[in-house]
């Protein structure tokens, strides 16, 4: 394989790793960053998005509309979880971990009972692009673009809307925000909804590239967490940088040492990064 070809291959691989990590981490980053909640049911929000997207698609919706519906479904699911459980557990990090773990168990099993072990997936659209003897899925590259669009939109929402301002204030000093008339509980509710919608959209976007199973959420949970933690406090900048750097490390490692090597490289990098940069990548930027 020529140098150009392998460089191109590496680029495409790194891009697709980045796209996926960024997508699955964004919703988690929003909820964890703003509310300090460890959402162990994060994967199940992705699952709800993916399954709903697939259902919409099979019902004849165009894919983009189906993904939008998937995001909305995950958002509604998030609202229910927030109203029933999370709102009673603000400021109690560990307890949310166990409670959301419970949510995760319930959802996975309900989905399994309802839909069985696998669910009819969506065919990956957009075909493939050719480079020399090689080819890659166009959609996978488009996912990286979608991730960038989602990050930019999230950034805009946090920077330029009243909700965004209030949520950033609440994130930095919840009591003070409340004393200024900011209804922090409502802000948290909206944040949970927003994060769930983002996760649902992520689920819808990756649905055409993976098998839809009740465990699909569990499978992405660790990667999502790792990305968020490596990113640090800054939801947008930190998380996107983390996804990028982890993607760039995972790509050559998996090219050289196989998929397992890539995954191990991701985990080892995480451990080392946390040790070297306890603040996450945000610490370097700020």
């Amino acid at each position: 394989m020529s140098l150009i070809e392998s460089l191109f291959g590496f680029l495409i691989l790194a891009l697709s790793h980045f796209g996926k990590l960024a997508l699955i981490a964004l919703g988690l980053a929003v909820i964890f960053g703003i509310m300090g909640i460890i959402n162990f049911a994060h994967g199940e929000f992705i699952l709800v998005g993916a399954y709903t997207t697939a259902m919409g698609y099979h019902a004849g919706f165009p894919l983009l509309l189906a993904i939008f519906v998937g995001g909305l479904a995950a958002g509604i699911f998030g609202l229910i979880v927030e109203r029933l459980i999370i709102q009673h557990l603000y400021d109690r990090l560990i307890e949310t971990l166990v409670a959301t773990w419970g949510v995760s168990l319930i959802v996975i099993q309900l989905v399994r009972i309802q839909f069985g072990g696998t669910f009819a997936g969506i065919h990956t659209p957009l075909g493939s692009i050719q480079y020399g003897a090689f080819s890659a899925s166009t959609y996978r590259i488009a996912l990286a673009g979608a991730a960038i669009v989602l990050f930019a939109s999230t950034y805009a929402i946090f920077m330029y809307t009243r909700y965004g301002l209030h949520s950033r204030a609440a994130m930095q000093n919840k009591e003070m925000a409340q004393c200024l008339g900011i209804p922090t509980k409502r802000v948290y509710m909206k944040t949970f909804f927003f994060g769930s919608v983002l996760s649902g959209i992520a689920g819808g976007l990756i649905a055409p590239t993976v098998s839809l199973t009740p465990d699909m959420g569990t499978n992405v949970l660790v990667e999502a967490f790792v990305t968020v933690i490596v990113g640090g406090a800054n939801v947008i900048v930190g998380t996107s940088l983390a996804a990028l750097s982890l993607g760039i490390i995972q790509a050559p490692a998996s090219m050289l040492f196989g998929t397992l090597g890539g995954y191990l490289a991701l985990l080892i990098t995480t451990v080392l990064l946390i040790r070297v940069l306890p603040e996450g990548l945000t610490g370097v930027v700020e």
Partner: protein
């Protein structure tokens, strides 16, 4: 119940030898009591030894299956206690406690399979099963705590390391160490039971003697830890948990202490792992999976962080429950468990045992108060 109450009981009790006995009873337990544990009074210890007595005769009234199952629950209790010390008391959010259990188990298995013929082969295996996790976690602890990693980041690192063990061990389907086949995801089987051959004292573990051994170890670990957390070291642990920086300013080497605690907890977790593998004769890499890794965290949270009793009881009851749910033969067991976690967290946020303690305290104070009011009236 404080000392003044003992005094009043004493004066009202005509039997001197009995009150003397009670004093001895209290004296013996005093060393296990303190503000850092639940159950610091005569009633508690009476109930405690009462249950112990029942557990002593238990093997005579149940069949082998119930006995074996109970033995495994006791082993989980030991694991829960080890995490209670590391996380509940010292505040090190360790997601890797199950990994110490698994490491201990694998180490025991490999050594025991290779050295069964040797006299005391399993005793050596036991020792290695305890020491290996302690050493591994000491190294990891050194890596983390001397690098100022703390809080949630410790949880993530320990979780990630646990998952790496999982990945690596699932890769071992053809790997052998001596006679031991690691077996990849199929696990390692044919692991011999502990044989204790220590000078003039030797017995093979039958289900009954195994039960007594594990019961004795569980009680010893519980009392030992109670003693520790109520001693000087216990206060240091809690100081670390409550305010690391201030503890450091008082001249304690936090990094060293945390590494030591982390490693000691791993030794205890390793012990539980050894007992478990000796009990089951089998171990596989799912011990290092996400689900398993969460179990001890769930026990300790549900039972009440910062209480040994709570962690132990929660481990027993939750394992018992999931066991029975499995026995119901339905696909709904995970749903039940999930709902259970949520309800406990919502209604007993500080854990079941502390909540019950608070209720008990409230109840007994109102009773005492109403009692004293009546006395005043009469």
């Amino acid at each position: 119940m404080d000392e003044s109450e003992h005094a009043t009981e004493e004066s009202s009790n005509p039997h001197h030898w009995f009150s003397h006995l009670l004093d001895r009873f209290d004296e013996f337990h005093a060393r296990f009591e303190g503000p850092n544990t639940i159950g610091n009074n005569r009633t508690f210890w009476a109930v405690f030894w009462g249950i112990f007595a029942i557990l002593l005769v238990y093997p005579m009234i149940v069949n082998t299956f119930v006995l074996k199952t109970n033995t495994s629950f006791f082993i989980w209790v030991i694991l829960a206690l080890s995490l209670s010390i590391v996380w509940g008391y010292s505040g090190i959010f360790n997601f890797g406690q199950m990994a110490t259990f698994g490491l201990g188990g694998y180490a025991y298995g490999v050594v025991a399979i290779n050295l069964t013929e040797m006299i005391g082969g399993t005793v050596l295996a036991l020792l290695i099963g305890v020491v290996l996790p302690a050493v591994v976690m000491a190294a990891l602890g050194y890596f983390m705590f001397y690098g100022q990693v703390s809080g949630l980041y410790v949880a993530i690192i320990t979780l990630v390391v646990t998952l790496m063990f999982n990945l690596l061990l699932t890769r071992t389907s053809g790997t052998t160490i001596g006679d031991a086949q690691l077996g990849g995801l199929n696990g390692m089987s044919g692991i011999p039971t502990l044989e204790l051959d220590v000078v003039a004292f030797s017995f093979d573990l039958t289900p009954v003697s195994e039960y007594y051994l594990v019961l004795a170890l569980m009680i010893a670990v519980y009392l030992g830890l109670r003693y520790t957390v109520n001693s000087y070291y216990g206060y240091v642990m809690i100081a670390i948990r409550e305010d690391e920086r201030r503890t450091q300013m008082f001249g304690y080497d936090i990094r060293k202490l945390k590494t030591a605690l982390f490693s000691a907890g791993a030794a205890l977790g390793g012990l539980a792992g050894v007992l478990y593998v000796s009990w089951s004769g089998f171990i596989d890499p799912t011990m290092f999976g996400l689900v398993s890794a969460s179990l001890p965290i769930i026990w300790v949270t549900v039972g009440g962080r910062g209480t040994l009793l709570g962690s132990g009881i929660a481990a027993y009851l939750l394992q018992y429950t999931s066991n029975e749910l499995g026995a119901m033969g339905t696909g709904y067991s995970f749903i039940f468990l999930g709902i259970l976690f949520i309800l406990v967290i919502l209604f007993f946020p500080s854990g079941i045992v502390p909540a019950l303690r608070d209720r008990w305290v409230a109840w007994s104070t109102t009773r005492k108060q109403s009692g004293s009011v009546q006395e005043g009236n009469s």
